[in-house]
């Protein structure tokens, strides 16, 4: 994985010093809270319901064991012994003191980590495929391109006060495991008819209160123009994105209001101009970055596991992904234990995952946007030993992509924006479906829960989505069906009137019954919904 050189390290150190100075001015009173707010936000520091929350960037979701270990230590030293992995492949600490924030950033910088641009109206941490560099189906490893864009987008002088936050995702396979088309800019690394590698750009996707799927804006950008093209996309947005209403300020609204074609025309015009401005980094830079992501030294070995232990066999079936080397798999460590808080891990669990990564996965881990952790390169021969240790630490839940593997935002338990709680609902659903044994019957079913309209829990993209709203002072939950964040991106549709907390759990049970009764061979919940439509579900719910 990528290693900082002296320049990268100096940039992060400069930011720590700058933030320490800002925090000092705030504590001395020469900065008002209004003035300090956008500055702390650009360093990932939010003021939440009960305390400050610090969001740590994990670029394209990749980290090494030393970094994971440090995250565990910070959880113990400055927080309450745990952290929360997010849908942006980041980590959040929920109980931070302002006085400690600069020290935490200094601790992070010692392991080449930071909280830069994890918040604020700037280009956020770049996300990617959690199986990058491991999956059998990728064209190339997308991370060198993501790293190139990380450097370009860090402390960008022109794009630090954008109309609104800006999220970029880079993938390099037809299968989309990163919700690419639901980003402000989605980049897919592709090969053209001449066999050259380049970048396909999508723009104007997003969730939030106005969910939109990004249209393609350019089929092929040559690699030596990648940054220049991105710069043109951002400049048009910075100049013309709406600033009169924060709820209409994302690029999706600009692309929608201008129309895709007019946005493309403006970007192309700016791009043509920019090509003369010398903004593209030297091509050698990409070549310098690539070897950091070279394959580790894979060895041949057994291609099958001993399936005599049914619990182990189930975990292997559910939680491993095919690797490009046939003696390896990518192993998913579920952070969704039955009745647990989705995405939470204790300091001890983080240190254990760090140790296991060192032992079994060439020192590397990934964070998934589904709030789980991946050991990308595990020898099939080592799987049983790995699973045994995960089981003992409460990290062996065999539920990847099942209804228990739900995404849930922090909700009203932590978040100052939330209208309803997400966590207790997630806990009750996983307990119920586990106890009834229905999880197994349902197979792949992506449940996503947001505690407010901002959609941090990706409910628009859930096969089943739940949105918590406030109805006359009471928590109320709207149910929606048919969303997908994968390559067949679609937005879920609301079933009808909302439910109470108890009611929505019953409603999920009801819609899954409709599926079980109606499904044809091999159909997932989503496939059945797409085939039979909303009506049978509605009738069962409200009829």
């Amino acid at each position: 994985m990528y290693k900082y050189d002296q320049y990268d390290q100096a940039m992060v150190d400069a930011r720590v010093a700058e933030f320490r100075d800002q925090a000092r001015r705030r504590l001395e009173g020469s900065l008002s809270e209004d003035e300090f707010k956008p500055l702390r936000l650009m360093n990932g520091l939010y003021l939440q319901l009960h305390a400050y929350m610090l969001r740590v960037a994990i670029p394209y979701g990749t980290l090494n064991s030393e970094q994971m270990h440090a995250l565990g230590d910070i959880a113990d030293k400055y927080d309450r012994g745990y952290g929360h992995f997010t849908t942006r492949q980041n980590l959040q600490y929920n109980w931070i003191k302002l006085e400690d924030a600069a020290d935490i950033l200094a601790d992070l910088s010692k392991v080449e980590m930071h909280a830069i641009q994890t918040s604020g109206n700037c280009i956020r941490n770049i996300s990617s495929d959690h199986f990058a560099g491991a999956s059998a189906d990728e064209l190339v490893d997308p991370r060198p391109y993501a790293e190139l864009m990380r450097q370009w987008s860090s402390f960008h002088p022109e794009f630090t006060y954008l109309p609104r936050k800006f999220k970029i995702c880079v993938i390099a396979s037809e299968k989309d495991r990163a919700a690419m088309r639901l980003h402000d800019i989605g980049v897919q690394i592709v090969k053209n008819d001449e066999g050259e590698i380049g970048a396909r750009f999508y723009a104007g996707g997003g969730m939030g209160r106005t969910p939109m799927i990004a249209p393609m804006i350019r089929d092929f950008v040559p690699l030596d123009q990648l940054i220049t093209y991105a710069e043109a996309c951002l400049r048009v947005y910075n100049r013309y994105g709406r600033r009169d209403n924060k709820y209409k300020a994302r690029i999706k609204i600009l692309v929608h209001e201008l129309g895709r074609d007019e946005y493309v025309r403006q970007v192309e015009e700016e791009f043509a101009h920019m090509l003369d401005q010398g903004v593209e980094p030297p091509r050698e830079e990409l070549e310098r970055i690539k070897p950091f992501f070279a394959d580790p030294d894979f060895e041949d070995g057994p291609k099958h596991v001993d399936r005599s232990d049914p619990d182990f066999a189930l975990w292997v079936d559910r939680n491993t992904n095919r690797h490009k080397h046939d003696a390896y798999v990518s192993a998913v460590i579920s952070l969704k234990p039955v009745g647990g808080i989705p995405g939470d891990a204790t300091g001890d669990q983080m240190r254990l995952m760090a140790k296991l990564a060192k032992q079994y996965s060439f020192d590397e881990l990934r964070i998934m946007h589904t709030q789980n952790v991946v050991l990308p390169h595990v020898k099939i021969a080592d799987l049983h030993a790995l699973w045994t240790q995960l089981e003992a630490a409460g990290l062996g839940a065999p539920n990847m992509d099942s209804i228990e593997d739900m995404i849930a935002c922090p909700g009203l338990d932590y978040c100052s924006l939330a209208n309803a709680r997400s966590i207790p609902l997630a806990q009750r659903i996983s307990e119920r479906f586990d106890a009834s044994g229905k999880t197994e019957k349902l197979g792949e079913l992506k449940l996503k829960i947001s505690g407010c309209i901002n959609a941090c829990g990706h409910h628009h993209a859930g096969h089943i989505g739940i949105l918590g709203v406030d109805k006359k002072g009471l928590e109320n939950y709207q149910l929606s069906l048919g969303g997908s964040e994968a390559e067949d991106t679609s937005l879920a549709k609301i079933t009808g009137p909302g439910f109470t907390e108890d009611g929505v759990i019953e409603a999920i049970d009801t819609v899954t019954d409709v599926y079980l009764q109606s499904r044809e061979d091999g159909e997932r919940f989503l496939d059945t919904y797409r085939r039979i439509g909303m009506t049978p579900f509605k009738e069962a719910l409200y009829g």
């Binding site: 050189d5 100075d21 500055l39 022109e158 006060y161 600033r243 401005q277 903004v279 030297p282």
Partner: protein
């Protein structure tokens, strides 16, 4: 009422030019396009900086107003003007704080007239925040990727 627009030389707290401070009242972008003798103009966030491009030769000062520091359109305006070859004074005025200085400088501003005078020591430190930079911009600094590979900034056409 164009004559009340613009900051006076006394308002300029930081300046990175050796020439005389321009002391003309600025006009609006619209007036600038109509008036052939205006030498100073003020850009508001919603103005298109590119309409000024035909007049750059006669302009000695372009002020870019930041009514609120969170509105970043002025950064694009500044860079566009420098990309087009404007060499006169580019002055950031309005809600300009310590923490915006380094990026503004990178986008081509060479004079700063903040509404609220800034602490000189903090400002000096802020201008020097970045020993090196990742992105190529109109300040023509050699970028980190260029340093890594021993190449010089590309001449802008």
């Amino acid at each position: 009422m164009d004559n009340v627009l613009g900051t006076s030389p006394d308002d300029v707290q930081f300046r990175f030019r050796d020439d005389e401070v321009v002391d003309h009242a600025a006009v609006t972008v619209d007036s600038c396009c109509d008036q052939t003798n205006a030498t100073a103009v003020r850009i508001e966030p919603g103005d298109d900086a590119r309409v000024l491009l035909p007049f750059l030769d006669r302009l000695a000062l372009i002020e870019v107003n930041f009514p609120s520091f969170g509105d970043g359109r002025g950064y694009s305006s500044a860079r566009i003007l420098r990309e087009a070859g404007f060499t006169g004074e580019l002055r950031a005025v309005g809600d300009v704080g310590i923490d915006q200085l380094s990026h503004m400088r990178r986008c081509g501003f060479d004079a700063f007239a903040p509404d609220k005078p800034l602490n000189e020591e903090d400002a000096t430190r802020a201008f020097a925040t970045w020993e090196n930079v990742y992105q190529a911009s109109v300040d023509n600094r050699r970028t980190i990727p260029q340093i890594r590979h021993g190449v010089n900034p590309k001449a802008r056409s």
